[in-house]
Symmetry: C2
Subunit: 290 residues, 2 copies
């Protein structure tokens, strides 16, 4: 690949990561907390102009929540199954020299789902050869995305509010006051993943309260246990075949937690570099568009 | 039954219901919002004295959260299986003429659970002949209790944070803003109960957001749908035999919702009067103690 230089931006709700890409290579990168929630009303043109000035006024390709109805400009959704070419064909340009990648949706009477930003990483992972063209990919987080790739396209996907549920429980539930201690892929986390086999989350969560009342769980162990319950529930709902490979677009703690849970649920995690995946995906879209 | 007159109080977290019982019959009743959370520190003796003065200074038997470590006096827990006689044998008396019924716990390495207040209703339902001595009973609410009765005793139970989860989602989740509209045992509620068959709550809940983004659910329908998802998850985890009878200690909306969900989950609900059950249970404890 030897496309023209451009600025790629992964612009999410709370963070923004920009890459200066020349000839398919990242030559500069910057990250800040200027997510869409921190941009004042009407402030996107100035925010974009600032980025472009810092990087030689190059054209820009944006992905993520910047293209939502709460971002700069609603870039809509492409219906799954979707390829990078499908995304490139549906770019939206809010101003000269700037384009936004659409999201991907799944529609149908029985189930609907949406993603915005993850599609570039998921398809990019396959484009970069970091994951096979037929694979189950997972991008954990506030809203964990699980994508089924077929022939290199994003064929279907499902979202679980795993991370959001943890924050809800910790912040506002009766058991929130028990959820102290660090979350790590330790014995307490694993106990939670084991307990999630019952597929009975509502009672397992109350059990955290009962264990505390009866002095059955060490103080500081509940946060990891609840994390295990939730991530375990998420993984068990997705892993249906023994030994199923899951390509995991994550690093750090989330990669450790999901790798452990996937293994306990009978699968096998392969950790994939999500930043390299994004760069590969956005560069491919840029080249197709050119 | 022809026991001496006494005042029975079902004293919960947010409400209090008092019954003047003479010769096994309720001759007066009062209800107010003086739950334990509204009693000031050190205020229980005065609150109790007020009640006794209004009812001829009779002795009192209290049940519910008043016997918790956040209430007046911690009355502890009796280990399941537990009978009314077991509860009567473990009354705690914080002052002359006043006794508090203990809660019931389930302990063991694999699972812990606690209840406080519900045990009087559950055992009372059987004592009054409103439910058989071998039965599955359900008392829905913030923390829904499901009790397995054997030979008239409370043999085992499990708690689900069904009602609390609904309040958490409505008050604090991303989908909370979609959860408008009344909850009723209508078509939207039933769709939620049907969807709960997947046993994949974390993704079903995110689907509420996706359906709203894609305009796939009528405004005002999501609250009933989420209620159906949660109550459906609760009932499906408990109903393991086709046609299983569930004696439901509830009235009004909760009785309608759980009856509908139990039927969809393959069971059969029998609605039981929870106030009559409480009176029967607390009167039996009083008579045993006398």
């Amino acid at each position: 690949m030897s496309g023209a230089a451009f600025i790629a931006v992964d612009w999410g709700t709370t963070n923004r990561r920009a890459y200066l890409i020349e000839g398919g290579e990242v030559v500069a990168t910057e990250r800040d907390d200027m997510g869409i929630l921190s941009v004042p009303p009407g402030g996107f043109p100035a925010a974009v102009a600032g980025l472009r000035e810092r990087h030689g006024g190059l054209p820009m390709l944006l992905a993520g929540m910047v293209g939502s109805n709460r971002g700069w400009h609603d870039a809509g959704y492409v219906l799954a199954p979707a390829s990078l070419a499908d995304l490139a064909a549906r770019l939206v340009s809010p101003e000269e020299g700037v384009a936004i990648v659409p999201g991907v949706c799944r529609d149908g009477d029985e189930r609907q789902d949406v993603m915005r930003g993850e599609e570039v990483q998921l398809l990019g992972a396959v484009a970069a050869g970091l994951a096979p063209g037929d694979a189950l990919l997972c991008q954990p987080g506030t809203h964990a995305k699980w994508a089924l790739m077929k022939d290199g396209a994003l064929a279907d996907f499902i979202t679980a509010m795993t991370g959001e549920m943890f924050a809800l429980l910790k912040g506002h539930a009766l058991i929130g006051s028990e959820m102290t201690g660090e979350v790590e892929a330790d014995a307490d986390f694993r106990k939670g993943v084991e307990a999630s086999a019952d597929r009975d989350l509502l009672s397992a969560l109350f059990g955290v309260r009962a264990a505390a009342v009866l002095g059955r769980r060490a103080p500081g162990a509940a946060a990891a246990y609840v994390s295990g319950l939730l991530i375990g529930s998420d993984c068990r709902a997705r892993i249906t075949l023994p030994g199923q490979q899951v390509h995991l677009l994550a690093d750090g703690l989330l990669a450790r937690l999901y790798s452990a849970a996937i293994a306990i649920a009978g699968g096998q995690a392969v950790v994939v570099d999500s930043h390299a995946s994004f760069v590969a995906g956005i560069t491919r879209i840029w080249d197709i568009k050119a």
